[in-house]
């Protein structure tokens, strides 16, 4: 890829600018979490620090349960690749409120930046298109990010977007790591007391 690549973290911050409680975020596995957390702590973010490949399925279950909210699956290219069949599944189940944003740096970032599939030519947007996503975007610049941000809240999805970013590794911004605490905070913020007592 010789296109102008986006700077990773500023692009995610731009995407999440002016975020409202209408938007629920599921993020993983590593770098996507640090990006989301650095944009501001929010109990309506759920982070997967393991179970690689499960970000999109988790966002799908959430989107189906909360049709009045908007759901963002924020993931990396290698995380997505491990659970790739989630793309055709989402395309078939068609949750209109779900956006998948893949931060594609073409690397296994957390393990030493080894070259990953997308750097060897695998076209995730093409896979999403072929799976039947009604909206597919490849984002290379700020205008694209701004359009995607609007679409996060409005698009008749599901939509799939690839952010082509450079392979730099911004500083780790560690969230609460306990998945159980994250779950309880999320459910309390979304469902109120019932979320804790059910």
């Amino acid at each position: 890829m010789t296109e102008n690549l986006l700077p990773r973290r500023p692009s995610i911050h731009r995407l999440l600018q002016g975020r409202t409680d209408k938007l629920l975020i599921v993020a993983g596995l590593g770098s996507a979490i640090w990006d989301a957390e650095s944009a501001g702590e929010n109990p309506l973010n759920y982070y997967l620090l393991g179970a690689m490949g499960s970000v999109v399925p988790t966002a799908l279950g959430l989107a189906l349960a909360q049709p009045e909210r908007r759901v963002l699956a924020l993931t990396g290219d290698a995380e997505l690749m491990m659970g790739l069949y989630a793309l055709p599944t989402v395309a078939v189940r068609r949750p209109a409120n779900l956006s998948i944003v893949c931060i594609d740096n073409g690397r296994f970032g957390e393990t030493g930046k080894q070259v990953a599939h997308t750097a060897e030519g695998v076209d995730l947007a093409g896979i999403a298109r072929a799976s039947g996503f009604p909206i597919v975007r490849e984002v290379y610049n700020d205008d694209g990010i701004d359009a995607l941000r609007t679409a996060l809240y409005r698009a008749e999805g599901p939509q799939f977007a690839v952010l082509k970013v450079s392979a730099d590794m911004p500083p780790v911004v560690m969230p609460i790591r306990d998945g159980s605490i994250g779950k309880s905070r999320f459910r309390e913020a979304l469902l109120g007391e019932r979320g804790l007592k059910e």
């Binding site: 997967l48 179970a51 690689m52 499960s54 399925p57 988790t58 959430l62 909360q66 069949y85 055709p88």
Partner: protein, 176 residues
């Protein structure tokens, strides 16, 4: 070979009724012939969001995501897919999420296809190693209670539970 059919409870319909009683709002599946009736009933039920997955792996995320959003979900699958869910189960165990699967067994009771042995014979060990509580119905009259109790364990105690429906209940597939 229909000598026992008339006396058996309609365990397939009882599973569907149990899902309704449990107020399960999402049903996901990778189809198995043993689940065909429940799948059809759920697909035609407007109160249940039912649909297919491509791989059992996805079921852990989807069901945990449903719980994040305040809904109960169930997964219907065959024993051959158990190996696919072991890795993803870390989401349910690390997050203390409820996860509830009903698994129709192959590779045990008069199985014809030797390739089913692998999944069937390893299913319980894999589930237990992955932190999933395993319950089993060996007879048709046990199915409904096992489904109700297994789901309550999952949703009330926030843990992954699999209810296995023995191949003896389903009947071995006969190829002619």
């Amino acid at each position: 070979m229909a000598e026992t059919a008339a006396a058996e409870p309609n365990w397939r319909e009882e599973i569907y009724r149990a899902l309704k009683e449990l107020e399960i709002k999402q049903v996901h599946f990778v189809p198995d012939a043993g689940h065909a009736h429940v799948i059809d009933r759920c697909l035609e039920d407007r109160e249940i969001e039912a649909g297919m997955l491509a791989n059992e792996f996805e079921s852990v995320g989807v069901c945990c995501g449903a719980w994040l959003g305040g809904q109960r979900a169930a997964m219907l699958m065959q024993s051959s897919g158990i190996g696919n869910i072991a890795h993803a189960m870390g989401l349910a165990t690390s997050g203390r999420f409820p996860f509830f699967a009903i698994v129709t067994m192959r590779g045990e009771w008069g199985e014809f296809n030797p390739w089913q042995l692998h999944g069937g014979q390893s299913a319980e060990k894999i589930l237990e190693a992955a932190g999933v509580a395993v319950m089993r119905a060996n007879y048709a009259h046990e199915v409904a209670d096992m489904v109700l109790a297994g789901a309550r364990l999952a949703f009330n105690s926030y843990c992954p539970v699999a209810v296995l429906i023995g191949q003896r209940v389903i009947g071995a597939k006969v190829f002619k």
